[in-house]
């Protein structure tokens, strides 16, 4: 369950790079090359281990001028996908309260 104050960090084993505003990721564990589109890349870039889910949602709202509701729904959905693929992980021990 993703809470608003959940902080996510990129899986450090995943080499990646932004190319033409998209992100190319190498998932060597699964033997796959993944490509994130511009919005996906923006979210990926925003995942730095310190930003909360809510902060990422706000960032997407500002950058792409979409409503908070739409951004919140889709960012969460996307983050869950990243979690399922183990491309990101929840940063344990760091919450809004302790930050």
């Amino acid at each position: 369950m993703l809470e608003v104050d959940t902080r996510l960090a990129k899986n450090e084993k995943i080499p990646w790079r932004l190319i033409e505003e998209e992100a190319v990721l190498l998932d060597l564990e699964e033997g796959e090359v993944l490509r994130l589109n511009q919005v996906g890349a923006e979210i990926w870039n925003a995942i730095d281990g310190t930003r909360t889910v809510e902060e990422i949602v706000s960032h997407i709202c500002r950058t792409f001028e979409v409503s908070h509701r739409t951004a919140s729904r889709d960012v969460r959905r996307f983050l869950k996908q990243l979690l399922r693929h183990e491309l990101v992980q929840e940063r344990l021990g760091v919450s809004m309260a302790s930050a």
Partner: protein, 551 residues
């Protein structure tokens, strides 16, 4: 036939890998080179597995040479050795896409490139590292005898193209040669008769299996594979090389017995080749010994057992230390019904050369692969008459019984193998499989785990472990075992399909969907490492322009 310590060609400080040899370098090489079949060649390196040739060239500092590869197999496949991090250096997404068009070259497993070299691909690193700059594959004459055989040869080149579509620039097929240019390397496949004139000294790389017909062809030609004959003998091959004016300073010869390529009764032909290359003027005693062996083969082929025995016994008198004579006699005595004599000869052969105790010292594996189950069983039983403690023969027999679904008998044989060799991973796996078939899941799991402990990189073992867990309804363990199978590099539709089913059971719908998609891709409609759509309908509702998605 010992390995040579002296290098064939020392690379000068000016020479770079892959460069054509300069005039001075050619002269230097030529000084150390000999006309095959006329002058003695000093550097002849023998090996069992043919990829040893690559390591021998490396040790000798060989560079920029023409390779004459005389073999029934091309031994050139691509190695997925490209570091995928290079994809991240691309300047554009279209460049990433074009880089990914080369399938099967990206090492997405994190295994080191040198761990990926084997007998089927060692020529690839030799070309890549500049050891070899031009490659001639001399094929057995039968490979060019008919249009169907030539088509088969062309298919081998086409399979190289499938992996790297841009690699092959040209290909021409005539009645005599298939010529291609792959990654700027000229590759010519032809018979020895149609080899063009080569001016400079070449690297001569031979496989003993070149001398024998393919096992399936032999099985059609003779009622017993022990009676097969080479299509060309070593002296004839050397003579044809001499007629072509081939000069060389460095020879590599593989026996290739393991895997069933060269029949063990003819392993000695590799030694004979080496002998004839090193000593073109063969001493009389060697000539006489080899003549006895050859006559013995012909008599065996004609079922004249007494005369064959007499010839091999003469060869033993001339060279009692030659294991092959004893080994060939073991079969002949066995055919005559003298089991004790046969066993004694077999023991002597193994004592002289322990390599004769290989699992390929009989035609059981070949017959089994050809579906001749009863003949395979007879072969294993023959070997057990010679050596009742042969774990490999018991294992072969167990495999035959498993094929016949005689699980109780198979299990008895597997247990016998394990009593002789407790750490026999394949027997443990076979026993586990038999338990699996008898629906004794826990016993199967125990055996598979023991097998995996011995061979932790064997993905197939994990697959069967996954099967046992799945039947036991231990979904998480089954998922983990199947995932490990994939991590070990085993790719099969069944694995993804089963993983998909398990994720469905656990209501992990997205993961299930992912696995079914992978199954479809492995099935062949999608390229293995292509960038692909990953989110599909889930994201359709989101702004088409701004959707965050995994593609």
């Amino acid at each position: 036939m010992g390995e040579s310590a002296s290098p064939a060609v020392q690379v000068s400080s000016k020479s770079r890998p892959g460069n054509r040899l300069g005039r001075e370098e050619i002269r230097a090489v030529a000084r150390g080179a000999a006309l095959v079949g006329a002058e003695p060649i000093n550097d002849v390196v023998m090996m069992e597995d043919h990829d040893g040739a690559y390591y021998a060239w490396k040790r000798a500092g060989v560079s920029g040479r023409i390779l004459l590869h005389i073999d029934a197999h091309i031994d050139w496949n691509w190695i997925a050795d490209k570091d995928p991090r290079a994809l991240l250096q691309a300047q554009s997404l279209s460049q990433v896409e074009s880089m990914l068009e080369e399938r099967g070259v990206w090492n997405l497993t994190e295994r080191k490139p040198d761990e990926l070299v084997h007998i089927g691909n060692y020529i690839y690193p030799a070309l890549k590292e500049g050891i070899v700059r031009e490659f001639y594959w001399i094929v057995p004459d039968s490979f060019m005898e008919s249009p169907a055989a030539r088509r088969n040869l062309v298919r081998q080149f086409q399979s190289l193209k499938k992996i790297t579509p841009g690699a092959r620039k040209t290909v021409s097929v005539t009645d005599h040669r298939v010529v291609a240019e792959i990654h700027n390397t000229k590759v010519t496949a032809c018979t020895l008769s149609h080899l063009p004139e080569i001016q400079e000294p070449i690297l001569l790389d031979l496989d003993t299996d070149f001398l024998l017909p393919e096992p399936s062809e032999s099985a059609r030609a003779v009622d017993d594979l022990w009676k097969q004959l080479p299509w060309i003998w070593p002296d004839q091959l050397v003579s044809r090389l001499k007629d072509k004016g081939i000069r060389t300073d460095f020879v590599t010869i593989a026996y290739s017995v393991e895997g069933g390529y060269t029949p063990l009764p003819y392993k000695y032909l590799g030694d004979e080749l080496a002998l004839r290359l090193k000593h073109p003027q063969l001493p009389e005693r060697h000539r006489e010994r080899l003549a006895h062996k050859r006559r013995g083969s012909y008599y065996r082929h004609d079922n004249e057992l007494d005369r064959a025995i007499a010839e091999y016994e003469m060869a033993v008198v001339l060279a009692p230390e030659d294991a092959s004579n004893h080994f060939n006699l073991a079969y002949l005595y066995d055919q005559e019904g003298s089991s004790e004599q046969a066993a004694a000869r077999y023991r002597q052969a193994v004592q002289l050369d322990p390599a004769y105790a290989t699992a390929y010292n009989n035609f059981g594996p070949v017959y089994h692969a050809l579906g001749m189950i009863e003949t395979a069983r007879e072969e294993y039983q023959r070997l057990l008459r010679w050596d009742p403690q042969s774990a490999d023969a018991h294992h072969g027999l167990a495999e035959v019984l498993a094929t016949q679904q005689r699980w109780d008998d198979a299990m008895t044989q597997y247990r016998t193998v394990l009593a002789i060799t407790p750490a026999h991973a394949r027997a443990l796996q076979g026993l586990g499989f038999a338990y699996l078939k008898r629906k004794q899941w826990d016993e199967a799991i125990t055996q598979f785990r023991r097998a995996i402990a011995l061979e932790p990189q064997d993905g197939v073992g994990y697959f069967w472990l996954g099967e046992a867990h799945r039947h036991r309804h231990r979904w998480d363990e089954a998922i983990e075992a199947y995932r490990t199978t994939l991590r070990c590099g085993v790719r099969a539709v069944a694995i993804h399909r089963k993983l998909g089913g398990l994720y469905l059971r656990k209501r992990k719908l997205y993961k299930a969907w992912e696995q079914y998609r992978k199954a479809l891709r492995v099935w062949g409609w999608r390229t293995l490492f292509a960038i692909r759509e990953r989110s599909g309908r889930l994201w359709e509702k989101f702004s088409r322009e701004r959707e965050p998605c995994l593609r």
